[in-house]
Symmetry: D2
Subunit: 277 residues, 4 copies
Amino acid sequence: MPSNSSPPLHPTREREKALMSNSPSPIRVLVWGENRHEKIEPHVAEIYPDGMHTTIAAGISENLGDRAKVSTTTLDEPEHGLTEEVLADTDVLVWWGHAAHGEVADEVVDRVHQHVLSGMGLIVLHSAHWSKIFGKLMGTTCTLRWRSEQDRELVWTVDATHPITEGVPNPIIIDQQEMYGETFDIPAPDELIFISSFSGGEVFRSGCTFRRGNGKIFFFSPGDQDYPVYHHKDVRRVIANGVAWAVNDRPRRIPTLLRYDTNDFFNGHGYTGPIAD
Amino acid sequence: MPSNSSPPLHPTREREKALMSNSPSPIRVLVWGENRHEKIEPHVAEIYPDGMHTTIAAGISENLGDRAKVSTTTLDEPEHGLTEEVLADTDVLVWWGHAAHGEVADEVVDRVHQHVLSGMGLIVLHSAHWSKIFGKLMGTTCTLRWRSEQDRELVWTVDATHPITEGVPNPIIIDQQEMYGETFDIPAPDELIFISSFSGGEVFRSGCTFRRGNGKIFFFSPGDQDYPVYHHKDVRRVIANGVAWAVNDRPRRIPTLLRYDTNDFFNGHGYTGPIAD
Amino acid sequence: MPSNSSPPLHPTREREKALMSNSPSPIRVLVWGENRHEKIEPHVAEIYPDGMHTTIAAGISENLGDRAKVSTTTLDEPEHGLTEEVLADTDVLVWWGHAAHGEVADEVVDRVHQHVLSGMGLIVLHSAHWSKIFGKLMGTTCTLRWRSEQDRELVWTVDATHPITEGVPNPIIIDQQEMYGETFDIPAPDELIFISSFSGGEVFRSGCTFRRGNGKIFFFSPGDQDYPVYHHKDVRRVIANGVAWAVNDRPRRIPTLLRYDTNDFFNGHGYTGPIAD
Amino acid sequence: MPSNSSPPLHPTREREKALMSNSPSPIRVLVWGENRHEKIEPHVAEIYPDGMHTTIAAGISENLGDRAKVSTTTLDEPEHGLTEEVLADTDVLVWWGHAAHGEVADEVVDRVHQHVLSGMGLIVLHSAHWSKIFGKLMGTTCTLRWRSEQDRELVWTVDATHPITEGVPNPIIIDQQEMYGETFDIPAPDELIFISSFSGGEVFRSGCTFRRGNGKIFFFSPGDQDYPVYHHKDVRRVIANGVAWAVNDRPRRIPTLLRYDTNDFFNGHGYTGPIAD
């Protein structure tokens, strides 16, 4: 089998230094927003006058305070605002998209994918279930049932020991929401944290975690452009909890093939180590 | 959210009819082989004179008898032998590749991917951990440690209730093998069935199942071109067990977005159903 | 560490012989019913005139036909009808209890526990979530939320590849039911198959599988003494599917401590084998 | 269904107050040791002159410093040192036992069980796989293969994102150890973190997490009375990581049956709440 050496990612030296020094630097959070509905549809602009990404970012800051340094970027920035330099300086990326999944360039998706596998956290919100990056990480269609008729959503806690469920009532009550229902075509999640119900009687695995490579992924379905869900106190708390959970403090590193020679079998010593690491 | 209707796959009418008639038709198994080492390297040709795919196919027939109808195809066939018609008539696809993963056309990989998500079983053998199709289904790098120095592999059963472990000793002893070691960069498997050890002390999750869409996937790591592993009685039994396990008898169908309207909330009746189904 | 040899269970020779002969004998199913409500409460007797266990048994026979040989027994039989001989001749035990969990003798619970760990399948229905045997297998309180006010239950399929979901609509609609809601205090199930919603907006993991020792366990929550749920066609089908799934055809055997000596390290040969097996 | 109100556990007020005040108090760790081999067998006393529990406790303090307040207790104390008061003041309990599992009183086991389900963390070490408390939480026999012939153990990391694996090499090399091998009769763990191999070629799921009720459980198999494993730097680090991971900062609370009435169906408001909470 041939060796396959990936180019080294930009080192995150600043963060590593801070970790060594025992006064951890804040979590560097980047909220990515598609930012199209807000510009085109007046009723969305009314709910989210500064853009959905800004509201989502504010909810994270509100909950994490000094523990996080939150910034935002959008689809229309060059390279969608997701250059190699930006991603190398991001601990957790939060993703909201809906109408323009197809406009996200494949090479940017590949770059984000590499960073997640290397250890960057990823929070996938609502309609981003159908984003290219989530599909690429899951390997499935990520399709579901849906209806947008002002359903009421109840978000029930299934795993009360999980840090992501801390500080929110059981259930969270969202008075107006789009309905997302099963069957949700995802791999069985590593952890099932929340299950939602809707006025029509549908259910949905609304809070799920996945580990892929060195990266931690949290999918959380509440949130929509047509309803003021990202102003909801409990929804904001869950997203902030997810950000704190998704941090991987170890040096960013893509998993690679490692060739191990040994002339000294059976004792676990004497490995000559990977060819390309 | 817009509706997204996938083109219908070729119906597998013959099989459905057989199922209705209560005398199940045999499992239609297709073994796909890269078939390159066998042609170029004399020592491989000596071990597998008719090609590795033929040996693998023989092992399945040996164990399943009339329960399976096994055929083979290879990389150098037009469309790698994996046309829409062929896949529509395949219940379980067995995949072995190694040196030429990069030569498999992306459109063929996409086609196989759609069929797996629609319900076709997939058995992924050994070095196919790095095939395009496995990577696309897993979403990770699927990298690992390795060494080819005639290690001895022991394959231990972890889940003694699983049908894939039926009829094999614990451990299976393979006298000569390539070493595959952790960390194996895959999603946590749905079921961990076998763990292997190697002479150098390495360990590997050598038997794993995954469900993706409507498809069942079994990864089994024993097997290599340099060693006669596919002549090994127990290895053949496990692969045959995997084939029998991976069958999905329901009509093949890709998961799709389904829009559900209802004017009759709260009672579960009155759905107007999916737009595109 | 001392060796711990369990007494051998009664061999299930009849079944093993049948398996060898390639014409599998029917699955031996035993439905255990508490049979108290039916005797004391007229409205329950009206719904289940021959006892709930009889109705449950009829639903299994209706679906599995010749593939199963179904019998019943109840709490008030000597040893609750669960002697060593009876259990040794049972492939899958179906358990319904509610008002009299405390009357089930601990020694009978221990006996059933040993048989499940040795390979007997177990189907746990509705209020049996709080039975001694389920609690002993789970290790948790198995508590939940509940309300009995004629809720409507919808049972949604989460895993469409699972044999237990075959042949039922998505969702199953149950017009009158007791409400069971999260948080359900169980270990994370090996497979989550169904999630239910109720009129009050509650959700529940209503179909879950667990493997314990060599035994396969299926918990299915629909079913109650106050509503005619076990007459429901789809509920009957799911229970029958669960019975077929839970069979373990290998010889019944309790996991034991095994001491492995070897004078021939590193090659996997030469084990002198377990002291007590 | 009858309501079942458990007696309230002793509140952990001191800790809760500290959490509120934003300067978290140290983790209160209690190391429980059987302390028999050390007293009876000179070669064990030589390795662990102050008792194994003391060595284990020192390894935790060495790694967690001011973050933990570590104390110890042993089997021969009244109530095995595990009174209600002691457990109510313990955030994480570490358990080592071997020769005298049978001497641990059932009522003490029940008390520890209630505290784990209520949120106390539990670290289960090596031969404690066969302790009453671990068996009661798992529901299985927890048996395995074993041999004590000075095997070399290699502990490989399977999940490199998990905090329990932080700061240790891959593999950890333990020069002398008892062999523990599969099949290990446990429920499929929630997270599989480490897999070990041994000189004889055996493998073992040596690092596993489980959530039961509100409690987090970490099983870690390295460690034995006959070898100086608890003096091993990496083993000590893993145990300390496990302690930090197992903390549940929320108020301790046993899951209970909750009866939910509602006169206001369909809107998620108006619950009258649990009868007994």
